[in-house]
Symmetry: C2
Subunit: 253 residues, 2 copies
């Protein structure tokens, strides 16, 4: 039986303030929750008996078996599935010396939680383990980000930093950004390590952050020079950029 208080508690986690205060986050969906249970400490699991029956041993602090209607009441989704879970936000430390050896992403003010989640998922695909975000980037624990990341938040570590100061503290190593007036990404020799900075959906990269970029890249459109749409969605641009870095790393001579 799912009490009104529990429903209220779950719904409250839609708010960032509440997530900050409790250190918890919400995830929904049969596959997503099953995935996250392998990596995150589970505070509360609300599931239909049928879903429960398909799981192996579960380590959860509190388990409530609920029916479809009860789950519907607690869900934030348009089409609720069979399970809702509350997880504990992990504490991970940013290892600065690792950054020098790897390719990492930096997000400067990505607003849309769906875009952010999609970027986390593609970072995971391309073996990027670290994403550093400006404080005004969407919250990684926003339920929509968690949803769009499809479980990749278990493998990609997200940090929030004041980017201009943070970038200044780093030793000199490649800092890339994509711009409409950059160098053609297909004609540049891209590094196997360094930072790729992606900017806000509407305004791009802030000038204080742009100053720290030493490699300006451009994704060419087709046919080149013919005016079409002015820009690409930020998750799409991130994907094409990351794919090209990895292609050059593995497949070019």
């Amino acid at each position: 039986m799912l009490s009104k208080n529990k429903i209220k508690f779950i719904k409250s986690l839609e708010k960032k303030k509440q997530r900050l205060e409790t250190g918890l986050f919400l995830a929904e969906g049969n596959k997503l929750v099953a995935d996250l249970l392998k990596s995150f400490e589970c505070e509360l699991l609300i599931a239909q008996a049928s879903w429960m029956a398909m799981q192996g041993d579960l380590t959860v602090k509190e388990l409530i078996v609920a029916d479809e209607k009860e789950i519907e009441k607690a869900s934030l989704l348009k089409n609720p599935q069979d399970v809702i879970a509350v997880f504990v936000q992990p504490h991970v430390r940013l290892e600065k010396n690792l950054l020098e050896k790897e390719l990492s992403l930096v997000l400067d003010g990505i607003q849309d939680p769906g875009n952010f989640g999609t970027i986390i998922r593609l970072a995971d695909w391309f073996g990027i383990k670290t994403i550093i975000c400006s404080p005004d980037t969407a919250d990684v624990y926003n339920p929509k980000t968690v949803q769009a990341s499809m479980g990749s938040i278990a493998r990609v570590n997200i940090f929030y930093e004041f980017l201009p100061e943070w970038l200044d503290e780093l030793k000199a190593f490649p800092v890339y950004g994509t711009f409409l007036d950059g160098q053609n990404i297909y004609q540049e020799k891209l590094s196997d390590s360094g930072l790729i900075i992606m900017g806000n959906e509407g305004n791009g990269i802030r000038s204080e952050v742009e100053k720290r970029i030493n490699n300006r890249l451009y994704i060419p459109n087709f046919p080149q020079g013919i005016a079409s749409t002015e820009s690409l969605n930020v998750a799409v641009a991130t994907a094409i950029t990351c794919a090209e870095f990895r292609r050059q790393q593995v497949y070019s001579i």
Copy 2:
């Protein structure tokens, strides 16, 4: 003055049935509407005086100057802007003989209007002028699709066809699809023309459609063979695929 009837009429266009019956569609946002006005017949324009003052000559059937509160009432957006427009859906014929010379996209059951709009936008970027969709793909005139396409619906033509039958009628030419067991996209010589089929977010390409594919591609993850997330968002996968087709066309020997 914006009447209740007009507000009701605008809101009704959120429904596909209503859009089909009227042959109209809705667009919101200062930049988007200004862009679409250049390409589509405008049935109704509701705008703040300040926005109107910044436009040149406008050819619209009906023009209503409204204040912020009135626009808020009619808007479908969380953060309404200064203008809402109702446009006439254009009638475009699919020129089959053009398909043989060009690269086109085929969407098999893309559900999410945001993903669909993002794909239209990136198709525009990569000079893809035609997208053929299965009947169960999201509606191109869904307000969320229009929004995410960022004006690219003016340059990319969208058609709905029963894909298995439609694909059978085509002469033999390259039909590509992305799969988890395809050929590495970076190690294949890709054609400058043909079809690229992308499948549903959860289930991929239907088997009846898959049968018509004669080139199975795979976007390699990194490091290759190391398990990470199982797949990429469909807009992201489409972007990486289109980018690689165009890269090979322009930059590889």
